[in-house]
């Protein structure tokens, strides 16, 4: 029998992750990604089979160019695989239309990027509200409240009116995390979230992610170059030349 997703009142207080551990959240089946240029064909991922369960915190490591960022892009439906099937929460999404993919990204997934990718012309609050803009039927008031709650979680409620250029690197990444959280996604995909930060700020960000995983049961996949960070997560996957090696 499949474990249920609903939290029973009797179990309130128990780490949500434990309840969900054996249900696949992201499933990659025979995934291939080949990049074509005029002259060369580069295999970025070679028949990858991988399951990330609900509530897991997985880190992905490997040398540059091994395909780990490609893997993350495919999991986040930011790119299409050349072959194979991707399942998110039990549904094969490979044949989804642009609209359906956008809906899955909006409701289920939150992204954190190494270079933050904040929109410099928008205030901190507007940046965090961004995912909610694409949610049908949500009022401006609710958007604002949810964005403020997300900023509260990352400790930046005092900076709502600031612009990204007025913040430090660590603060920017926290804004990016708040943006990823605003839509209350079940999955967070983080591509080297601490890569542009010094170790103190990196630790702060890592603590935030660990807290999210433990307290809210959010499934997190994090690409990193940092062994220390990777060892803080439950599972470590290593990639080499487009294939999973451990």
């Amino acid at each position: 029998m499949e474990p249920t997703l609903t939290k029973s009142p009797l179990l309130t207080g128990a780490p949500a992750a434990i309840l969900l551990k054996n249900t696949p959240m992201i499933k990659l089946l025979d995934i291939e990604k080949v990049y074509h240029t005029d002259t060369i064909e580069t295999v970025a991922l070679n028949r990858v089979n991988l399951t990330i369960n609900k509530g897991e915190f997985v880190s992905v490591m490997g040398p540059s160019g091994c395909g780990k960022s490609t893997l993350l892009s495919l999991m986040g439906l930011l790119d299409e695989p050349t072959g194979g099937t991707i399942e998110i929460d039990g549904r094969a999404v490979t044949s989804y239309s642009d609209k359906e993919l956008a809906r899955v990204r909006n409701h289920k997934i939150g992204f954190i990027f190494q270079s933050f990718h904040l929109i410099n012309d928008l205030s901190v609050l507007d940046n965090v509200e961004l995912p909610l803009l694409y949610r049908a039927g949500m009022s401006g008031k609710e958007r604002r409240q949810r964005a403020q709650a997300a900023l509260e979680k990352v400790g930046l409620i005092a900076r709502t009116k600031h612009f990204p250029s007025q913040l430090s690197g660590g603060q920017r990444q926290r804004v990016a995390i708040a943006r990823a959280l605003a839509g209350a996604p079940e999955i967070i995909l983080a591509d080297e979230p601490t890569g542009n930060l010094d170790s103190v700020m990196g630790d702060e960000i890592m603590d935030l992610l660990l807290g999210l995983n433990r307290q809210e049961g959010t499934t997190i996949v994090m690409v990193t170059h940092d062994e220390n960070m990777a060892h803080k997560t439950e599972r470590l996957i290593r990639f080499f030349d487009g294939s999973q090696v451990s």
Binding site: L78, D98, R105, N106, L130
Partner: protein, 417 residues
């Protein structure tokens, strides 16, 4: 969401001031030219003084004769033809007959004034809405009696008598003939070919033999239908009446072509005759040609703007990637960038409108066309708005579409550049 788009659009405009200036200049200049053309067009063929009931009017001002040897003749009409076949129509409310205007010498002391003189019947004053500053129009009795009375415009009053007031009852000498001024009206712009003149006098004072039986002459008819919906009935009766006009030379002439056209169609019938060979009024060709020219005129700056927009939008590749990653569909992104572009073009539109206003003032002030006082009105403003939005969509839709097709991962890497 719209407010958020507009806020962002404003910031993006301020961020790249030089691009913004180039874009706005292109839009404003194009729109200015289009608006000036539209204003002049509207001024010439729109319902304006003294042809304010234009929706009820049709004009018969040209006759086309086709000869059996393949030759053509175009000529204004004779008074006889209009009096016998047009004035007797039953469907119109009124039929006015007038001559074309001709420059006629007049002297104030030693100074020569070239006054445009038109001979009209009394109905002319009922069909058209002249603003009388003083006095009144001449009446049926004056026309019957061939009374030497005249209606003059304000400029003529000022130039001839040195004043615009108190000239009724005074004598003006035009073409060595004395006329007693009976009324003074506001100036009529020269583009109003069927009503414009400096001096209007009874048709019966014309040196022409009005009853001479012939086809060609120097006259036109302005026909007022009872309502705008009645115009087709008037035209149909007119066509039937024209079929009864006998050919004066059946051996040499093949057929006559004479129509009661709306103002625009009466221009178009002549203008488009090389293409239509008088088989229609040519509006079905003229409008697409005008629209095509306007489109072509807009296309060049639009292409330029598309180019600028492509680089502008692609600079924001990372933003596009982020928006896609967080759930924006291609359609949402296209609408966001269209809103931004329409916002930009609306600013350009306002600038263009202001420039057009200045240009029209300059053209009016230069007296290039007699008594022309070009003005912008709500109708033109609505046109401007329509053209601007069209321009905005035209120049924004391709870059927006191109950008919306990017895979989010490409956009995030900035490979859309």
């Amino acid at each position: 969401m719209l407010f958020s788009y507009l806020k962002l659009a404003w910031k993006v405009l301020l961020r790249r001031k030089f691009f913004t200036f180039i874009s706005l200049f292109g839009i404003a200049f194009t729109l200015m030219v289009l608006l000036v053309v539209v204003a002049m067009f509207d001024y010439t063929v729109g319902a304006h003084y003294p042809e304010s009931r234009l929706d009820r009017m049709v004009f018969a001002n040209f006759l086309h004769v086709k000869f059996k040897d393949g030759g053509n003749m175009n000529t204004p009409l004779s008074y006889h033809l209009l009096d016998k076949y047009v004035r007797t129509l039953r469907t119109p409310e009124k039929v006015a007959i007038a001559s074309n205007f001709h420059a006629t010498p007049s002297y104030v002391g030693n100074r020569k004034l070239d006054l445009d003189l038109r001979y009209t019947d009394a109905t002319f004053w009922q069909v058209l809405d002249f603003n009388f500053r003083e006095g009144k129009a001449f009446q049926e009795a004056d026309v019957k009696a061939a009374a030497h009375v005249a209606v003059i415009n304000r400029t003529t009053a000022r130039q001839y008598f040195g004043t615009e007031t108190g000239v009724v009852g005074r004598t003006i000498v035009v073409n060595q003939t004395n006329y007693r001024v009976q009324g003074v009206v506001d100036d009529v712009p020269a583009m109003r070919f069927c009503s414009y003149a400096d001096v209007w006098v009874p048709i019966t004072t014309s040196p022409d033999d009005l009853q001479h039986v012939q086809l060609n002459g120097d006259y036109l008819a302005i026909i007022l239908a009872k309502s705008s919906g009645d115009v087709p009935a008037v035209q149909a009766e007119f066509e039937r009446a024209m079929k009864r006009v006998p050919l004066p030379d059946p051996k040499g002439m093949d057929y006559l072509d004479l129509h009661a056209d709306r103002l625009m169609a009466s221009f178009s019938r002549q203008l488009m005759s090389p293409l239509t060979e008088y088989k229609s009024d040519g509006l079905e060709l003229l409008y697409p040609i005008l629209a095509g020219l306007a489109l072509l005129f807009m296309l060049l700056p639009a292409l330029n703007l598309i180019n600028i927009n492509v680089s502008r939008i692609m600079e924001r590749s990372s933003e596009i990637g982020v928006r896609k990653a967080f759930g924006a569909t291609g359609g949402k992104l296209v609408s966001q960038f269209l809103v931004e572009n329409i916002f930009l073009t609306l600013i350009g539109g306002i600038l263009g409108l202001s420039l057009a206003y200045v240009a029209l003032q300059l053209i009016s002030g230069s007296d290039l066309l007699a008594y022309a006082r070009f003005e912008l009105n709500w109708q033109i403003f609505a046109w401007a708005l329509l053209v601007t939005v069209f321009f905005g969509v035209l120049s924004g839709v391709y870059p927006a579409f191109k950008m919306s097709r990017l895979q989010p991962v490409q956009a995030l890497k900035g490979s859309g550049k």
